[in-house]
Symmetry: C2
Subunit: 454 residues, 2 copies
């Protein structure tokens, strides 16, 4: 697969829309911003919730073989020593002696074969040295080294650390999984590409435990499941690239890893890794903690450490991919022959932050407003709706197009049955992508829309 | 209201059940545990999700006047300087010179009027000094003081800091609110009372902005709304105590604060604070950041800083209150006249982790199993169900009683229509609290159960 084309302008438009419409804001912006830290605004938080809720539904609630966990962010130093993070979770860093910038050594621009500081253009750089990416803090009131704790760099480790407790309480037999959604933190030297590589981010991780002989088959099974997931939220298979990570690039303990990649406007980048991690993690924690983390097989009476498949997805990356995939501009012509550019987010209805806009045609007609409020009350228990009575109807449609609302419902004089009694209690249902409109009975809305957003 | 009775034994039973059945585990337990840090197991995570989802539904999705936000945990030092946290968010701490313990000065036991170390009994304590409760960390690769960031001690501040961005994008008019659910962190000197006072916890906070003249009325409105919330998840008003915080105990900027308290087994303690914070927070951030955080009134053409009402609830505290409220033991007599103690969590169906247990009477009868799997497939898209075919039916009921599952559905020979064709495709529906059983058509289950869990 060829490298994805870089489209800086497109990326800038998406970032601008996200700020303008309240999807994503720079963290602590009024204080100059915190580099690599982002806040989700009113629409972003709904989009993110929809992604997480759908993942939880298909990975945990609709399966018999997976249970959930919600582990803490603050993590014991010993756990991240055992996992290898304290010693080896680092990026190579250099200092620029001219402007004092700290830079990722493996991402430096070159000029005539010599590394260059991207800030000042200087070439007087230090040797590269490892910089650990974990954030540390002091737990409790005393300041000795024993009180150091880390912000977890991934959610996975709390699953391994609690493996025995879950096994003892959930009564699951192999193969079974433990799933978690939660924040993780990495002190990136140079955060970049918007919410793609940030210092605080959210993960959706599944650790799926199995017998050693099932490992490779389940690796392929989970790759397939994960591709289906992206398809079901609007990122088709043709938009994803599956990279089989070569032997040399895999962690030494892994028997196979796929990267699911997406062509972001800034290039082809990893959305999710699906890794067969063997029994490495549980073994490490068993050795370091001295607590048994093995599985007792009731049939064969054998005890062994299960192997594990890990589909590990980034929530923020998925949100960004959805925004990039959905963003579209098209030239449309109105009834007066005037052309304009329509910006539309073509979100799958399942993940759209708002499912339906509800519009009384005129806000100064009490019957229209009352009816529109009734439609809102009817649909609200079933989905996130947005009531808007301000401005021309065309402008209201455009505002919802721009935030990806799949349905527009307009309450007009036909709804009141004034011209044609047969049309009483019907509304105009407008479809975001085609802009086509149809007449539908209010009573049919709940079923019709519910089916499409689920 | 008298002080709540302390019931240590009851608390121990709840803690034991939570560990045994997979609600809550000590964080990093296999490494000796991390003091004041807890992980939620398979059932705990579902219970917590249900509480958060219901809060989000009634506070954000079902209201026109509230939007959501999801701010970062990593927070700019300047923001928490402006809010007052860097200078004054502290507890008084003393050291015991004998055993070196660090202790909260205001919680020391006394003996003959002299403070005593609870660890060693020593009386050689230092003077009290303030200990700041915020966790700090270093952001980025350089180690200068500018790179210090804090883990937020409350979610509220990111709402104030993003007030202008939300106002500009969500087009709301006063009064309106910004709501957030998320983690916060406090480096408690002595964490205690299980998940009640922990170092990492989750908050559900609403900042409801209004005109100054609406403040006191809205304070009472929100107190009432919040009491309804607890009632709707199973904590009736008679179980809650509303404390009107006396003038002397309120923050100097607050014009009124209510504490909603619950009688935990370890005493009457705060579940939620509902505070009228005036314009203090926005003013502080406007002054410190130099960015305008005012509101433009289109009607009067005036600009002013809105006042704010803050209902601030703890997710973990609510979960603990639900567990305490639900926990019950009762002596029951079986058909053979044998008595036993039944442990039951009487959760409101709305927040119960599992809504229905699905049981084929016998696991070695394929028709029963097939039918039970059909019932599972029918209900699963609508609710969290648990299929169990192991052990005597009475034992399966008890296992679900203990984790608070409100409904038990048993597929038996009547379901197959073998004895009475009129009973074909009916099942036994057992109610957890009364243990009463009724016969119901499978086709009626979705509607019947959905109504009660919503």
């Amino acid at each position: 697969m060829p490298d994805a084309a870089i489209d800086t302008q497109r990326m800038e438009k998406i970032v601008s829309l996200c700020k303008r419409r309240g999807f994503i804001f720079q963290g602590n912006e009024i204080y100059g911003g915190l580099n690599g830290v982002w806040d989700y605004g009113p629409l972003g938080v709904e989009l993110k919730r929809n992604v997480k809720d759908y993942w939880w539904r298909v990975i945990v609630r609709e399966r018999d073989d997976v249970v959930g966990l919600d582990g803490a962010i603050l993590t014991h130093r010993a756990a991240l020593k055992a996992s290898g993070h304290e010693d080896t979770f680092s990026d190579p860093m250099v200092d620029c002696r001219t402007c004092k910038a700290r830079l990722r050594a493996d991402q430096l621009p070159e000029k005539n074969g010599v590394n260059q500081c991207p800030n000042c253009g200087g070439r007087d750089l230090t040797e590269a040295r490892p910089f650990n990416l974990m954030f540390s803090t002091q737990l409790g009131a005393s300041a000795d080294p024993d009180s150091i704790a880390y912000l977890r760099p991934e959610t996975a480790q709390s699953i391994f650390v609690q493996f025995k407790n879950v096994l003892d309480t959930a009564r699951k037999k192999l193969p079974f999984g433990i799933a978690q959604i939660g924040k993780a933190f990495r002190n990136e030297i140079n955060p970049r590409n918007y919410i793609f590589r940030s210092r605080e981010f959210e993960q959706m991780e599944l650790e799926y435990f199995c017998r050693p002989e099932q490992g490779l088959e389940l690796l392929d099974y989970w790759l397939e499941e994960r591709l289906k997931f992206y398809e079901n939220i609007g990122i088709g298979r043709d938009k994803l690239h599956v990279l089989t990570v070569p032997d040399a690039d895999r962690a030494f303990y892994s028997k196979g890893t796929y990267d699911i990649e997406y062509a972001f406007p800034f290039g082809m980048q990893e959305l999710e890794g699906v890794a067969y991690r063997t029994d490495y993690d549980l073994k490490q924690h068993q050795t370091a903690s001295g607590k048994p983390l093995d599985y007792f097989d009731e049939e064969t009476k054998a005890r062994f450490i299960p192997h594990v498949i890990e589909p590990s997805a980034g929530v923020d990356r998925t949100v960004l991919a959805l925004l990039c995939e959905a963003y579209d501009e098209e030239t449309v012509t109105d009834d007066k022959g005037k052309t304009e550019v329509r910006t539309v987010l073509r979100f799958h209805p399942r993940i759209a932050p708002i499912k339906a806009g509800i519009f009384p045609l005129l806000k100064n007609q009490p019957e229209l407003v009352t009816k529109a409020r009734e439609v809102q009350a009817l649909l609200r228990p079933l989905m996130n709706v947005f009531y808007d009575e301000t401005g021309a109807i065309g402008r209201r449609y455009r505002r919802q197009d721009e935030v990806g609302t799949p349905f527009g419902i307009t309450i007009d004089f036909e709804t009141l049955g004034e011209r044609d009694p047969a049309l009483r209690d019907t509304v105009t249902l407008r479809h975001r992508d085609s802009m086509e409109q149809e007449r539908i009975a209010i009573a049919d809305l709940p079923e019709r829309l519910s089916r499409q957003i689920r």
